[in-house]
């Protein structure tokens, strides 16, 4: 047997029936194209969610007070005063899995600069806050440790605040604005981050030393929350456990008591969102996979009819010396050629369709290289699997009957 010759024979046979070969391919083309497009859409939305979470700081851990009962009434966590500054200091000094940690107190109020004013929230935070939230200073600088020690009236503001308080475009650094009548000097402006996946404006922030907000604005000794960031995303669980242990100890909770604080990590959020998009991707891939199988059955159907239709040709080939294996190979090669060619066209159309979806519908699209390899491999397997039975049928024909088949 000569492989090249069999390949030529199969190619000629296909060329003699171009329309039929193309129609057979169509099933595979549609199947592969839809697998690729569907996976691209699924992976695209997953990736965009992941990016957004990463922007928020994927290692971030949020500690809030909560879960306390007084006289049978569950109270609003924000009123709770269980998180103290000492807790923050203990955590800062004792944890091993945390890269950065910052207390958080916040207060809403009106920001005023001359004749412009804007309602916003001032966050009292530590120096690590920038690292935790992945924020960057665009101009000016962050307030300093000394500012925290002295409860200095300085602040760093986001782009939305700049736009509203300084509509003339002047440089806000060095200016003094007032928050609830308390003057704050602007020392820096944050780089813009845009909206997050929840639709919140991440540029609508004013950052000030936590001591300033606690003492000068709110006059409180407790914290609204503590933000921390784990050493890496994988270590989030260890960090959470460690924080929980320290806080329970500090709060002198008995084993039977429930936590009077809650710890949430971005990992929980990301795994929740991922499971949603994974489900969607799986569903889309299943639908696409079914169309691929339907395409495969199309190949089998046509090859089967083709064997019957070409019985005389098979008989002739056998009488001039084709062995069963030669006939089997020829039909198998035809089936594989159809499915692979269909696969290539399908990949091209799938990539094209993904591009169209990206540029016209503006959906996030990400074509995973493995999805192309996968659908390609599936095509070949489909060709062999669904081509085998008709090919075997052709090879098993008796040449005497086949040559005289009417």
């Amino acid at each position: 047997m000569n492989g090249t010759n069999l390949f030529k024979i199969a190619l000629r046979a296909l060329a003699n029936n171009k329309l039929r070969a193309f129609l057979t391919m169509l099933g595979i083309i549609i199947g592969v194209a839809s697998v690729i497009t569907m996976l691209a859409i699924g992976q695209g939305s997953k990736k965009s969610i992941q990016t957004q979470i990463a922007e928020m700081g994927s290692n971030m851990i949020m500690i809030h007070p909560g879960g306390d009962m007084r006289g049978g009434v569950r109270r609003d966590p924000s009123e709770m005063q269980t998180l103290k500054l000492e807790n923050y200091e203990k955590l800062r000094d004792e944890t091993n899995f945390i890269a950065a940690i910052s207390p958080n107190v916040s207060s809403s109020g009106q920001l005023i600069n001359g004749s412009n004013n804007y309602p916003s929230t001032i966050y009292g935070v530590g120096l690590d806050y920038l690292e935790i939230r992945q924020l960057k200073i665009e101009s000016g600088e962050m307030f300093t440790e000394a500012d925290i020690q002295s409860s200095a009236k300085v602040c760093v503001i986001g782009k939305t605040i700049v736009d509203n308080l300084f509509p003339d475009g002047s440089d806000p650094v060095g200016h003094v604005i007032r928050f609830n009548k308390i003057p704050f000097q602007i020392v820096g402006v944050l780089e813009s981050k845009g909206y997050n996946s929840m639709g919140m404006d991440q540029d609508d922030v004013v950052l000030a030393p936590y001591t300033t907000v606690m003492k000068r604005i709110l006059a409180i000794t407790y914290l609204n929350g503590i933000y921390a960031s784990a050493l890496s995303e994988d270590m989030t669980d260890y960090a959470t456990e460690e924080i929980s242990t320290i806080l329970r100890r500090e709060h002198r909770l008995k084993d039977s008591d429930e936590d009077d604080f809650t710890i949430r990590s971005q990992q929980e959020l990301s795994s929740m969102l991922n499971s949603t998009t994974d489900l969607m991707t799986t569903l889309l891939a299943c639908i696409a996979g079914i169309s691929l199988i339907v395409g495969g059955i199309g190949i089998m159907n046509i090859m089967y009819v083709s064997v019957t239709e070409r019985t005389r040709e098979i008989g002739l080939r056998m009488s001039v010396g084709a062995r069963g294996i030669d006939i089997l190979s020829q039909f198998l090669i035809e089936a594989i050629l159809i499915s692979i060619t269909g696969g290539i066209i399908g990949v091209l159309i799938g990539c094209g369709a993904s591009w169209v979806v990206k540029n016209i519908a503006h959906w996030p699209i990400y074509i995973q290289p493995w999805s192309i390899f996968l659908s390609f491999a599936v095509c070949t397997v489909t060709g062999i699997f669904f081509g085998w039975y008709p090919a075997k049928k052709a090879a098993d024909l008796d040449p005497i009957d086949a040559i005289r088949y009417e």
């Binding site: 000569n2 010759n5 024979i9 010396g321 084709a322 294996i325």
Partner: protein
Amino acid sequence: MSKKVIELQNIKRNFQVGDEIVHALRGITFTINEGEFVTIMGTSGSGKSTLLNTLGCLDTPSSGEYYLDGISVRTMSKSERAILRNRKIGFVFQNYNLLPKTTAVENVELPLMYNAKVGAAERRNRAIEALKAVGLGDRLEHKSNQMSGGQMQRVAIARALVNNPAVILADEATGNLDTRTSFEILVLFQKLHAEGRTIIFVTHNPDIAQYSSRNIRLRDGHVIEDTVNKNILSASVALAALPKNDDD
């Protein structure tokens, strides 16, 4: 005595049809030497198709020995017989059996496609040579649906010649053709015979026997007559004697 191409020794072939056993061949013995032009004749049911299948290595006898070009065929596997057909036998069928939508050269190349020893260039050259030998040197690239019956049969004969076989087996090769074209094909067979080819021509048309060198008649699975034709008629003379066709 020249070389034995075909040697049959008491060939029997039985078929199981339901509960009955049909004896298609009941002990056939004959030898065909190189360069003979043998017609095998018989009515329908005489066993000539079965004999042809056996000679063509498409079928194996139930008992008896068959040597083709000195090789014992009876114990061969299907694949071995396929290779033997590829190298030793050229078939010519009643209904030509050309591949549709395929050029004459490609049709003739077909047997060589299954012979890995023959390269692409040699394959094409041999196909062209064979087509020239049957007088179709000017129709190499014609597709099978662009040719007349006679031309298609010539392509089929070229295909049978291309592997330089030990024997050419023709099965009612003129059955689908009109008288004039039939004679043209017979002229071609006589020419091949004159060149020393061994030809076995199975037919039920008694006229053809007059143009062959030997005639074997079958009835009910037996050879009832095996005569050497001393007085071979020339097909080209007969062709010339035919009234001219208007459309030819």
